[in-house]
């Protein structure tokens, strides 16, 4: 179902058209993903596997819950923009074919700075290197730039210079337009496939293969939402909190009617409020810890609207046939084990998991950057200098790919990485060094909150101090 009217957002819905899914006509609009249009149509299960039906989990191109076949090609429905007349179907028993198409000629592209990912970190890095006069190319696998800021409708904390008070999607608009203003070239639908030791990155852009040879690289590939193990967690309707944000805030598609949210960190609290704005009932937020993980103000926003937050509770199973129908939660004891007899059953068609994120740093690992497992930062992250340079000279990391934080720190680490790339290519210019110091100062300020203590502990183990 599509959201007709929203208190914050306006949905353009231009160029209505249809595509076929398993022979059935599906209505869609320009700029909508196939996954969003299918969800709006009520199609929940996109894949049939031996044990049941799967639905989308992440909506940003990482899980395989929305794999479909489009005009004979296998693709993720969340990354595929709808076009009139597409023939879309379930994948069935997929057997990769030998290259049926003629291999196209690879084109070489030499750039000063290559940025991988167009979220707040990548765009910020691109902007500051672009402002320094460098030739900057951003590669984004989605069909629109902005990363996950695009689906954030709440106003951000911060000061004026860090976009404080603006809503996430407004920050994304500003970053994208500023990047274009300073001459940054943003390539969309252009996934970076990998690095080759001959010194280039392979990028698939439309019909062509690009061999990108950069003089400096910023990897700002973001993060992936975590799944929680419990029976029924694969059912369509169980998804990451971010996936619901993509549906309702980016495409104006209602993710469900009655929701249970797992995790009372900032993401869980904020998504609950956004669900209410989209007209979805939030039956409960469950949190396994004795206390709420996010800021009190975010919790207070939903508590005053009557949403219960059940601390010391967890989800024990999801039930349903072809899609989610019920969620069973239970209280937990001191060892976080569910206590028998405390189960509560919610009739829900949506179960959102906001139980943390994992850095998406595989490109750096593939390139051979020295990685380290950091529980505080959410997973495998690269060792880096305080200037965001990894163990590979000229290769920088920024944003959640360097450790899970939030959008403000992503913007700031992006700026640091962008200035570092500029310093490498243009020399230690005083203006660049000063601006980088200013970004580092703001970063230290942003990390002085009680919630950052864990991150700061993690950073102490992964930042390698270097003599400048």
């Amino acid at each position: 179902m599509r959201i007709a009217e929203h208190p914050i957002l306006e949905f353009k819905r231009e160029n209505p058209h249809t595509f076929a899914f398993e022979g059935v006509e599906v209505e869609a609009f320009e700029g909508e993903s196939l996954a969003a249009a299918l969800w709006a149509k009520g199609v929940r299960g996109l894949r049939r596997v031996s044990w049941g039906v799967l639905g989308p989990f992440c909506m940003i191109g990482y899980c395989s819950g929305c794999l479909v076949e489009v005009d004979g090609r296998r693709t993720r429905a969340c990354l595929e923009p709808s076009r009139p007349g597409l023939r879309v179907g379930r994948i069935g028993d997929y057997v990769p074919r030998l290259a049926a198409e003629q291999p196209g000629k690879a084109e070489e592209l030499e750039v000063d700075v290559m940025v991988v990912g167009s979220g707040p970190a990548g765009l910020s890095a691109a902007i500051v290197s672009g402002e320094s006069g460098l030739d900057v190319h951003v590669f984004e696998r989605h069909f629109r730039p902005g990363g996950q800021l695009v689906k954030q409708t709440h106003k951000f904390f911060g000061s004026g210079e860090l976009f404080g008070g603006l809503r996430g999607f407004q920050i994304a608009e500003r970053l994208v337009s500023r990047a274009r203003e300073v001459g940054v070239r943003i390539h969309t639908r252009a996934p970076v496939l990998g690095y080759f030791k001959e010194g280039f990155f392979a990028v698939s852009e439309g019909e062509r293969l690009l061999l990108v040879k950069p003089r400096a690289v910023v990897v700002s590939t973001g993060a992936v939402e975590r799944l929680l193990p419990f029976p029924g967690n694969y059912l369509p309707g169980v998804m990451g909190a971010g996936a619901a944000q993509t549906l309702m805030n980016e495409y104006g598609v209602k993710p469900g009617e009655r929701a249970v949210v797992v995790g009372a960190g900032n993401v869980g609290l904020i998504v609950s409020y956004q669900l209410l704005q989209a007209g979805v009932r939030v039956l409960a937020v469950v949190e396994v810890m004795p206390e709420i993980g996010g800021w009190l103000v975010h919790a207070a926003k939903i508590r005053r609207l009557g949403v219960p937050i059940l601390t010391r509770h967890t989800v024990v199973r999801a039930e349903g046939g072809e899609q989610l129908e019920r969620v069973v939660v239970a209280a937990v004891d001191e060892r976080m084990e569910p206590v028998p007899g405390t189960e509560k059953v919610f009739d829900a068609d949506l179960l959102l998991l906001s139980v943390g994120l994992t850095p998406e740093s595989r490109l750096l690992a593939q390139m051979g950057a020295r990685m380290v497992w950091s529980p505080e930062l959410g997973g495998y992250v690269p060792y880096r200098s305080e200037y965001m340079e990894t163990s590979i000279p000229g290769v920088y990391v920024a944003g959640d790919a360097s450790g899970i934080e939030e959008a403000t720190t992503a913007i700031l680490t992006g700026r640091v990485a962008g200035y570092s790339a500029a310093v490498r290519l243009l020399g230690p210019r005083r203006d660049l060094l000063e601006k980088r110091e200013e970004a580092l100062r703001l970063l230290r300020e942003a990390r002085r909150t009680p919630f950052s203590a864990r991150v700061v502990r993690g950073l102490e183990r992964v930042i390698v101090r270097v003599a400048q």
Partner: protein
């Protein structure tokens, strides 16, 4: 403790010195901040043209200077945490100004449910004044005088 509850009690706000005395509320509208954690944010301070809100550094708790504050409600509209309110007991009538971001959009004269910090219904009130700050409606609603520190949300009837 508020971190297990998800909201802060009036008594806790009083202990922190965040509740203006009744005499001040009787003189006219005044801002009340319920931002009790040290969030790295100073949007309220930057938005107040009277210099009535101060935040230590970027991340202290905001403090309202009750003498300078005129209760204009701009801070209510800009606060990203929706933790700013304006209360008034002027003329012996209770009024609360609070942020609202739902549908239908509210307009003067509309009657709305009054909700507490816990989401309990406290009765029905009438919307008196509405203005908008970046899509947030800043809504002034008439409430019984004894509820100015209790009503923290409204919902369409």
């Amino acid at each position: 403790m508020w971190r297990s509850r998800g909201y802060v009690e009036v008594e806790e706000l009083k202990q922190m010195g965040l509740v203006p005395p009744p005499e001040r509320m009787e003189r006219g509208p005044v801002a009340v901040t319920e931002c009790v954690e040290e969030i790295p944010c100073n949007v309220c301070e930057a938005a107040c043209r009277l210099g009535a809100v101060s935040v230590e550094g970027l991340r202290g708790r905001p403090r309202v200077d009750w003498d300078r504050c005129t209760g204009c409600g701009v801070c209510v509209g800009v606060c990203p945490g929706q933790a700013m309110f304006v209360v008034s007991l002027a003329g012996g009538e209770g009024r609360v100004t609070l942020p609202y971001e739902f549908l239908p959009k509210l307009a003067p004269g509309m009657r709305v449910k009054l909700l507490s910090r816990r989401g309990e219904e406290l009765g029905v009130g009438e919307v008196e004044r509405v203005f908008e700050v970046n899509k947030t409606q800043v809504v002034t609603v008439r409430v019984p005088g004894e509820l100015v520190m209790e009503v923290r949300a409204v919902w369409p009837l």
